[in-house]
Amino acid sequence: MVPMIEKAQIMDEDGMRRALTRIAHEIIEKNKGVDNICLVGIRTRGIPLAERLVKKVLEIEGKSIPIGVIDITLYRDDLTTLSYHPVLHNTDLPIDITGKTVVLVDDVLYTGRTTRAALDAIFDIGRPASIQLAVLVDRGHRELPIRPDYVGKNVPSSRKEIVAVHVKETDGEDKVIINENTDATL
């Protein structure tokens, strides 16, 4: 286990709720409605966030949008450097995404490598009209030319830090915290 200390809390439950409400509004505004939209949560924390966005859009527009789940494990670029291959989960897209506007939802945007993997995974499943990216936290340090369309909060961070999003569904409470990695070798 990597030694870790909790450094700061950067979002609480209210902060997360407000950020997601704003993102929901922005998705509707940018796409002039939600008729052709499908939300796709990236495992693991992207799923509850996508579910909340769907609820918010329903409250605002009175329309239910389809939601899917994507597991990007098989598309990762670091599989050869991991000691053991990670556990695989299902990818579930309830509708044909060809011709749709897909909004990818993830908790933290960092190097952009997860997003790259998700884009490749999406194109092996169908040919969407366009793909947009919604993240709760953008912490910078991109290693690929990828930028989000919707951001909950920009958090300048150091590479030594780990930004952790906690959600009620899996972690018991809603918050975003920064942990410092105290391992001197990094």
Partner: protein
Amino acid sequence: MFKRKDLLGLAELTPEEINFILDTARPMKQIILRDIKKVPTLRGKSVVNLFYEPSTRTRTSFELAAKYMSADSVNIAASTSSVVKGESLTDTGITLTSMGCDIVVIRHRESGAPAFLARNIPARVINAGDGTHEHPTQALLDLFTMREKKGGIKGLTVTILGDILFSRVARSNIWGLTKLGAKVRVCGPTTLMPRQIEELGVEVYHNIDEALKDADVINVLRIQLERQDKGYFPTTREYSRLFGLTKERLEKAKPDVLVLHPGPMNRGIEIAPEVADGLHSAINEQVTNGVAVRMALLYLLTGGGAIGEAVN
């Protein structure tokens, strides 16, 4: 986590490892069922199918599994290779390793040949059937199909029907099923029943009607026709009459019974055509599941490079 170098049989696996392989096969099946059947995961890896016995189904299944995962695959049939010039198994294995092969899938008529090869080469070895010992990937796809159709293995009554003596499929199934908590019955002619098979934790039947009573799953084994010449049973007609799975006999089992067959089938001998093509049969789906299970194994066995865990 799956930490083994090789997959040689189900006898050596823990229930947790078996379930982990089956869990990994589920997302793999999704890939087979979509339009673009390809993921980039095993780019740059190579898989050699080294078959010392004839096979269409298993070899093609492994070959497609490797291709769907973007690995390169090569097939070697022993009859057209340097084996006929007298090359030893180890030398063949070392030659393949020197060419950069990452995984060797081997089928051999001698029990224990895959284990022997695994000890002697650094490449990972998957047993695709060795003698009368084990055929682990067939048993894993049978378990996968049962789990998918029945929701779980624990508590199921599974009848394995046919040639138990020479069947590596039967042995691997018995190991896997008993480890996952199923009740296993074996049924076949006395001549084709190994002595002391009870010690593996199965019930032995020689009357098919008793063996099928209230069964949840019937796994029908292929009767190898060449056995008749050696005197293990008098005629295929008699075998069919005493041990063939017919529509009438199927009614002895539970109403939602699942019928499996590892193929290739002798229609009208061990299984009636209307049962093979009937509502209870999952025989074609077994073939799909076979590719998924083999993809899962290729994925799990090629894990392992430098130490490091993913963060963010």
